[in-house]
Amino acid sequence: MEFRFFYHFGNFLLMLKGMFSRPENMKLYWKQFMQQCVDIGVGSFGIVFIISLFMGGVTTLQTAYQLVSPIIPRSTIAQVVRDTIILEFAPTLTSIVLAGVIGSKIASELGNMRISEQIDALEIMGINTKGYLIMPKILAATLMIPVLVAIAGFLGIWGGKEAGVLSGVLSGEQFMMGLRQEFKAYNVFFAMAKSYTFGFIIASVSAYYGYNVQGGALEIGKASTTAVVVSCVLILFMDYALTAILL
């Protein structure tokens, strides 16, 4: 078991090292990077929009359900919702969902390219396939996932407000007041630090499993599943580690 871990970890590091070489054509690498930004950013916006709204709404209702004491002002609900969403739900929950959406896409795309010999074709042409195929995906994910997390944060809080107002738990003014109470900008930095880390994990782990697929269609499916599972576990592990270190 430990040996398998070290084998994969060593190979993973070698893959990362192999990405760094002088691009054969900077223009095509840039085009590839922009394409990945669109695929990851725009392609995942829909799911992020939906989960963020409901995540905020549910948080508001559940917080209100638990804060029943008459001595706690209603605006505290907004404060709790804000911090829960910024500190945990927007970066971690969104990243877990994105690991499924983006991670499986990256792993299956690269796996299919490997099986259909497209990666070999690029290699024969004299192209550094790790640099051309993997690096743009990692850079795009590291750039776009924090953007999606930021959007998820805004949408989550907005969803929380709407759910609170619609259910009559608290008024819009109470929610806005609660949002401004004891706001710490450091929490946003913490959320962004987590999202950069999670973005890197999702893209690099998925690329590793996809790039090294051997076999056929069945193995592409297995690689896809493994990529998502390993990404999720690493996200949760890093979530705990970063929380312990940074908070």
């Binding site: 054969e24 054509n25 497209q118 024969i124 042409m125 550094n128």
Partner: protein
């Protein structure tokens, strides 16, 4: 010219290539033939550098490919064109973009010049009308031809084809064989084909290497193969009754050519002794 000197390759305890030496000449269609598991594909992957050999050397025009660093290997690879068994076309690109890709990556030509070159290549493989189609919209034979167009777009010195006829009907196979043969002589390319197709062997094989259990069992031309005494080769090439009859007919045809007369007489003597 590509020269293999005593190359070996193994995976774990299993030795796949057991000291193979051969010379692939330029301007000729060089075939690697052999039964499944004989080491053909591993040999081709070693030649193009997709796999590292364990021992031995591979020389590209007297340059030791096996001793080159990553950068030097990349330069040699830019002179290599390869047609893959499954064509290996990029799914997300049109036929035109597939052929254009190597030019976009490596050529410093203007866009107009690149487009002209792509048009020339597509015309050469008779696929100008399919330029805007995606790989999923064209047939297997067309995919192979796009693969050939992509392989020759940078005017390669070496062309590798992995089973170019697999999954194709006999007529399309013939078309692909003719195209590869014409391109080889036209541009004086060193072409190496890995094949099972007996039609390719008899029609295009200027130089044939027969692999048997990881070793070079026989080497010669498509003319010489008809007179080969090698039992393993004969069992492999002329496996069916139909092919054995075709072999005899070919021998009779070649009898008219005095150059092959002696070899045929020798063959007949040997057969009568049996």
């Amino acid at each position: 010219m590509i020269e293999l000197k005593d190359i070996t390759k193994g995976f774990g305890d299993k030795e796949i290539l057991k000291g193979v030496s051969a010379v692939m000449e330029s301007g000729k269609v060089n075939l690697i033939i052999g039964a499944s598991g004989s080491g053909k594909t591993v040999m081709m992957k070693c030649i193009v550098g997709l796999m590292e050999v364990d021992t031995g050397t591979i020389l590209y025009d007297n340059q030791d490919f096996t001793a080159m660093d990553h950068h030097a290997k990349k330069e040699v690879r830019q002179q290599i064109g390869m047609l893959f068994q499954g064509s290996a076309l990029f799914d997300s690109m049109t036929v035109e973009q597939n052929v254009m890709f190597p030019l976009e990556m490596f050529s410093k030509d203007t866009l107009k010049e690149k487009k002209k070159r792509v048009e020339e290549c597509l015309e050469r493989v008779q696929l100008k009308d399919a330029a805007k189609k995606f790989p999923a919209e064209i047939s297997g034979g067309m995919k192979k031809r796009v693969g050939i167009a992509r392989a020759i777009v940078l005017n390669p010195k070496y062309l590798f084809c992995d089973e170019p006829n697999s999954g194709l009907d006999p007529q399309t196979s013939l078309l692909i064989d003719q195209l590869i043969k014409e391109l080889t002589t036209e541009y004086n390319i060193t072409t190496v084909i890995n094949t099972h197709d007996m039609n390719t062997v008899m029609e295009s094989g200027d130089h044939i290497v027969y692999m048997y259990q990881g070793q070079k069992q026989w080497e010669g031309s498509n003319k010489e193969i008809v007179f080969s005494k090698d039992q393993k080769l004969n069992d492999f090439i002329f496996a069916s009754e139909f092919l054995r009859e075709a072999k005899e007919m070919r021998q009779l045809d070649m009898f008219k050519d005095n150059k092959w007369k002696d070899q045929l007489v020798e063959q007949l003597k040997r057969d009568s002794q049996k």
